[in-house]
């Protein structure tokens, strides 16, 4: 562990850090544009200049690695002057059109200019401009005038997405980051949206979020992406009970700095036209009390063997616990259906996306709600007279139900708890409008058993209620005596089960990795 001195503060930092990261550990911020911890070093922007004893010239902090006894200064007159000069250089051709620019408010260029720049420019000539007509695909908007040539985009697509779709074109003053659209290389990769955060200025912004609102108007709720079993950590940025965008939240154990574009853009179902407006009994609008009483009554009528609960793996762990308790009170079985050929560990691409398109398969497994192959037969054979169907809107459950679609729709006492309309909710005897993930509190267990908290961003839309509250009311209506009245009580009750599963999965994954390594050797 090298001992270094930064701005007179002696400290011991980990081996192999560069000066930016080392300074970060003691709370000193060194401004930078081209450096990103996930990308290779290029030393391109020169914003990170520091003084390094006894070298007479300034050094770039991003490409200088700590050595024992280093003496670093980040706030001398020389450094401050250099930063001012670099900011002036970077802004020579920059249009400074912050009022129109979507990045304003979360722009590194803006922030660093405020903090380290000098507020005026001596450049009087014409600024260079580019055509705005070059298409960059469906997800991003490129305004090359604003680019500061940090090459983060080039390195991101080359190193992280592993699809070389960006390159330099022209030289010097006229350098342009240009998308390559030949040989099947396109900017519309599954991860292009990450350029929204990665580009330090407004040169690459997200089409989906463009001009919707300003970032400072948005509240940020920490949550977890529900669209696959990876469980990427996200911020839900919302305003007035509406999601405006999803951003990645750094978690080195799960998603590092990135999320995929599905997680980023596919949140429309939370506000879609097809959200279930209110509780219904036999197709007619009803109030919550009637609907819950009717549903609880139906669940008790046909006897344990003709009753079943079918639950998608988008339920939180806490809801799953209530499902289990409800099933125990009814004496019936609670299951999910086997989705055709889905293993929660299976990757769909090289980075994050997994084949299992549900958030909580592992959590349900820990609580014993597992796929029941016999259930499909029972459903198609008409043996089930009462079914509580939870969240058939989930793609995976919908796919699993494909074969028995008509049989399920014909079940006389079908109770559907879901957030969006489906064929099932239209055919159901009782419909209970539930919440989407952004409207829920709880935990998801991701593919490797990591239990992650989701936070409620806003209250359920319209007359909908949280699934936890609905299931609690149903279980109480069915006569179960339930001690856990909140999601926190429920979590405390299942924590041990979840931890056990995490340890188990860890072991499984290690065994798998070992086997794979051996297979490779052989």
């Amino acid at each position: 562990m090298p001992k270094i001195t930064i701005d007179g503060i002696e400290c011991e930092v980990a081996d192999g850090l560069n000066v930016i990261e080392a300074a970060k550990t003691i709370g000193i911020h060194i401004p930078h544009f081209c450096y990103h911890p996930a990308l290779s070093l290029v030393g391109q922007c020169r914003m990170c200049l520091i003084e390094l004893d006894p070298i007479p010239k300034l050094q770039t902090a991003c490409s200088t690695f700590v050595k024992d006894g280093m003496v670093i200064r980040t706030n001398t007159e020389k450094v401050i002057k250099a930063r001012k000069a670099i900011m002036e250089f970077l802004l020579i051709n920059h249009p400074l059109d912050c009022p129109e620019c979507d990045q304003a408010g979360e722009c590194d260029l803006q922030n660093n200019s405020f903090e380290f720049g000098q507020g005026f420019s001596r450049f009087e000539e014409q600024k260079r401009t580019y055509s705005r007509d070059i298409p960059v695909g469906e997800k991003l908007v490129r305004i090359q005038d604003r680019c500061i040539h940090c090459t983060r985009c080039i390195r991101f697509f080359r190193e992280i997405v592993q699809n070389e779709v960006m390159t330099y074109q022209w030289r010097g003053n006229n350098t342009a980051m240009t998308p390559l659209e030949q040989d099947g290389r396109r900017l519309d990769t599954n991860y292009s949206g990450n350029m929204h955060e990665l580009c330090p200025c407004g040169a690459l912004t997200l089409k989906d979020f463009r001009f919707k609102t300003r970032p400072w108007n948005l509240a940020n709720t920490e949550s977890v992406c529900p669209l696959c079993s990876t469980g990427c950590n996200i911020f839900i940025d919302h305003k007035q009970r509406k999601i405006f965008r999803i951003r990645p939240r750094v978690n080195m154990d799960v998603n590092t700095w990135w999320i995929c574009d599905f997680g980023r853009i596919d949140f429309g179902y939370a506000h879609s036209e097809t959200r279930i407006a209110g509780p219904r009994v036999k197709g007619a609008d009803a109030d919550w009390k009637t609907a819950l009483d009717t549903a609880a009554g139906l669940l008790k009528t046909t006897g344990a063997s003709a009753t079943a609960i079918l639950c998608s793996a988008d339920a939180t762990n806490e809801e799953a616990l209530l499902v289990k308790k409800l099933a125990a009170a009814l004496g019936c079985s609670a299951a999910s259906l086997p989705a055709p050929g889905v293993d929660p560990l299976e990757m769909e691409d090289h980075l994050l996306l997994r084949a299992d398109k549900a958030a909580n398969t592992q959590g349900l497994k820990a609580l014993g709600i597992v796929p029941d192959p016999a259930l499909a037969d029972k459903l198609s054979g008409g043996a089930i007279k009462t079914l509580l169907l939870i969240n058939p809107f989930n793609k995976q459950l919908a796919a699993a139900l494909d074969g028995v679609r008509d049989a399920v729709a014909k079940i006389p006492n079908l109770v559907v708890l879901d957030h969006n309309e489906t064929d099932f909710s239209k055919a159901a005897a009782v419909v209970l409008p539930g919440a989407v993930w952004a409207e829920k509190n709880g935990t998801f267990t991701n593919y490797k058993g990591l239990v992650q908290r989701i936070n409620q961003a806003f209250a359920p839309a319209g007359k909908a209620r949280g699934d936890f509250d609905i299931l609690l009311a149903l279980a109480q209506g069915a006569g179960a005596d339930i001690a856990c009245k909140t999601h926190i009580d429920a979590y405390n009750e299942i924590r041990d089960d979840l931890l056990k599963l995490e340890a188990q999965i860890k072991k499984d994954i290690e065994a798998l990795q070992k086997a794979a390594a051996e297979a490779e050797k052989a």
Partner: protein
């Protein structure tokens, strides 16, 4: 934390008998009375007469446009952010002209909420919102005070009407 309260200095003899202050006040009343009787009245017979207000008076807003009628506002939301009364609502949209890029799709000021501080005018980077000296915009319903883009681009005309009135009265 202790708070130190400064006691005011004790009143002098003349202050305690109040007479000088009362005489001073009476004098002012007399002066105005004589002035009014002599014809140089201080009362303005509004609305028949209009007071000339200074040019930097802050009242109803106007949204200037370019010569071709295109709105100057680029919907940067600075004004709605700075507004202490939360009186401004802005929604942006893409402009067909890529050079302009962005413009307001919806812009509304609730003049009943507005406290006429002028911050919106001061903060606007595109010189796209001004406060005029037109203080004559009362109506008898709340909707009448919601000024959308369509009305705000035209309120400039009212200023010249007001000035004409001012000049007529003098």
């Amino acid at each position: 934390m202790a708070i130190i309260v400064k006691k005011p200095a004790p009143l002098t003899f003349w202050e305690r008998i109040y007479l000088p202050a009362i005489l001073k006040g009476l004098g002012m009343t007399m002066r105005h009375m004589i002035k009014t009787l002599a014809g140089g009245g201080v009362t303005i017979r509004y609305p028949e007469q209009h007071k000339r207000v200074p040019n930097n008076y802050r009242a109803l807003h106007v949204m200037p446009t370019w010569e071709d009628g295109h709105i100057k506002c680029v919907a940067c939301e600075m004004c709605s952010t700075v507004c202490p009364a939360n009186a401004i609502t802005v929604h942006a949209e893409e402009d067909e002209n890529p050079e302009i890029e962005k413009r307001a799709a919806f812009y509304e000021i609730d003049e009943l909420r507005c406290i006429f501080c002028g911050f919106c005018e001061e903060v606007c980077p595109r010189d796209a919102i001004h406060l005029t000296k037109n203080y004559e915009f009362v109506t008898d319903n709340r909707e009448g005070f919601l000024y959308g883009m369509d009305r705000l681009t035209k309120t400039g005309r009212l200023v010249s009407e007001l000035e004409a009135k001012e000049n007529k009265d003098r």
